[in-house]
Amino acid sequence: MNKTVLDLWVGLFVIAGVAALLFLALKVGSTSAVSASSSYEIVARFDDIGGLKPRAPVKSAGVVVGRVADIRFDNKTFDAAVTLRLDSRYAFPKDTSAAIMTSGLLGEQYVGLEAGGDSQVLKNKDQILITQSAVVLENLIGRFMYGQAQEGASQ
């Protein structure tokens, strides 16, 4: 085969392959919305995190503002310390509250942030003081049955 024709075909093959890679990178995939360079971390302590997992989204008013970076058990206070990595474009007041919510009835769990009214904002390594744990279905049912039994006893 003629050498220039061969070169042309191989060139076309390489261009097509690189174009496919670019298509996968730009159209199909997305780089993680929050990169390490433009983010800050805050810690929220929960009594019970339910089924929360690392890389779960952190949302405020339904908009994703960051991700759960790390979850660990604190052996001194016996609660869960959840590190949230937030995009530095968003600043939250000092008295912001965090709650673990579920999207839909059986969906994934995420951390919802409810902004407070303080004039000072949360900085890197700050702690969120007001938190609300995940709703665990078994506890809910247990409390309901306990309440029913008490009602029955008082009548």
Binding site: V18, A20, A25, K27, V28, G29, S30, K53
Partner: protein, 262 residues
Amino acid sequence: MLRQAIENLGNRTIQGVWRVGFASRFFFAMLMHSGTAFRRFGLTIREMYFTGVLSLIIILVSGLFVGMVLGLQGYETLQRFGAESALGTLVALSLVRELGPVLAGLLFASRAGSAITAEIGLMKATEQLSAMEMMAVDPIARVVAPRFWAGVISMPLLAALFSAMGIFGGYLVGVHLIGVDEGTFWSQMKSAVDFQQDIINGVIKSVVFGVAITTIALFEGYDAPPTAEGVSGATTRTVVTSSLAVLALDFVLTAFMFRGLS
């Protein structure tokens, strides 16, 4: 009788260890003599035409059909849970993470690997390799190394083309045939597929498969007995061994890459 059996076992063990040693010496000799493959890049480009460009048709067509089947089957299952909007995610993740590299690797092994083995085996059988050595041309540098690098460069490109074609096939079936909303198809896919976690790992997989397949194919050809029967046996072994190697390596790589994800 018993002595005969033990002798047989010993002989097979020695043969096996010798083959493994020869294969690794062959692999390192190939890397050491790779200079020519880059200095005379025309040789590598020629081999890329035979391994890469000529595999394009089978890769593109299979990718399209695999994507279309994924679209149909995925929709069948997802619509039972009312989750047909996740069709794009299902198609893209399964192609980019697993099916793209693995199926492209299997096709590459049977399309290009067998051809490499047969070519080098015949070169050996007709004593072309010995003739090169007589002319002080190193056959590993002149014949083997360019084929190796051509395979290693072609494989990730073919896997990327397979995945892209498959996603296009899934899009055709999902959006145009079944009627999943086009916007949700692409946006759900984009939000679920991570560039570093999924796409880069898929590319790493395909590079590893490329190294494994071309090394096995070249070694089997170089090691083939110089007879018609020997070459045909070596060609069969190339396809079987490299397919098994791709599947086994895929399990090991997946275990390392996606262990901490779920």
